[in-house]
Symmetry: C2
Subunit: 189 residues, 2 copies
């Protein structure tokens, strides 16, 4: 019963996404998600507190971003440390093989306010984590807040473009393009 299941959270998320697309988020139950994944209800609840959480597994993302910001060269500027973390995100998470899943997930979030709000809260938590990671590098408060939120801005726009784009447009490259646009739009040069 309580055996470890290889990638159970990923299988549950994939099954949930299928069912949300087929029957709608409101009309899908935890039992149906577990069955579709070939797992039990109790396995579901070992990984997620409720149906709403099944598409959100933020702890891994947070650790990845925080570690990458900490690991940036000591003399890296704050925004460079953030951009480095987003590069890692592109290499580890938002890979070519993940694009279709991400696009389908985003469509389900856009169609369900309850999930869209959950995503908004997740993003706020990730930005706060990035800001704290910058502060641990000795970056001053307002500068850390601006750099962290610029990272979020680049992430959001790059992610929107990445899920729409054709093959070959990498997430990290799109982040760099958006940050270049920030320099132009902020009227700095």
């Amino acid at each position: 019963m309580a055996r470890w299941q290889p990638d159970a959270p990923g299988r549950l998320a994939a099954a949930a996404l299928d069912l949300f697309e087929e029957h709608g988020y409101e009309n899908t139950t935890v039992i149906e998600i577990a069955e579709r994944a070939g797992l039990t209800k109790s396995t579901f609840f070992r990984y997620f507190p409720d149906k709403r959480e099944v598409l959100f597994g933020e702890s891994a993302l947070t650790g990845l971003l925080v570690d990458a910001i900490a690991a940036a060269p000591p003399d890296a500027e704050p925004l460079e440390a953030v951009a480095h973390a987003l590069d890692v995100l592109g290499q580890e998470v938002f890979t070519e093989g993940r694009r279709e899943f991400s696009a389908r997930r985003q469509a389900v979030l856009d169609a369900n306010p309850e999930l869209a709000e959950r995503e908004a809260r997740k993003r706020i938590g990730l930005v706060d984590s990035m800001i704290e990671a910058l502060e641990r590098r000795g970056v001053a408060g307002r500068t850390a807040r601006v750099a962290g939120k610029l990272g979020a801005l680049a992430w959001e726009i790059a992610h929107d473009e990445w899920i729409l784009g054709g093959e070959g447009e990498e997430f990290g490259a799109l982040v760099r393009q958006v940050l270049a646009e920030v320099r132009v739009v902020s009227g700095a040069c």
Copy 2:
């Protein structure tokens, strides 16, 4: 019964904020909010669909921002049009007399995930409205998205600093300071 009440939404929001602070958001009912405001339950529901909405009146903000972006001089750069709209916001909404209410409201939102998520959704809607207003000025897609989200970044940081700050720190001035920090952090100069 159905007579017009002067500033009924404002009185309901003020009463709700008092009660949320005194008894907690979860423990406050619509009837109690209406009674505290000296109004009826049916008046409450004329303005808000449920308790969760009473601290959110976004339609006025959206119109104000969209109109201000449209009214910026034709040759204004995208981010300048956005900064102009945030100046108007500081003059019309985030005034000195509003600061204490805004600070108390923010504390209640921070303490209640359900309200924090509603606020996050409200902000996403406002940013989307600003982006659309920029596109109507002929600003290209990605540039409009970057400028609109830079406006949101400046708004969020300026608002956090404004509710904490002493007298004399105006919202619009803080927005300009944050945008100056964006130029520095984006490494443009």
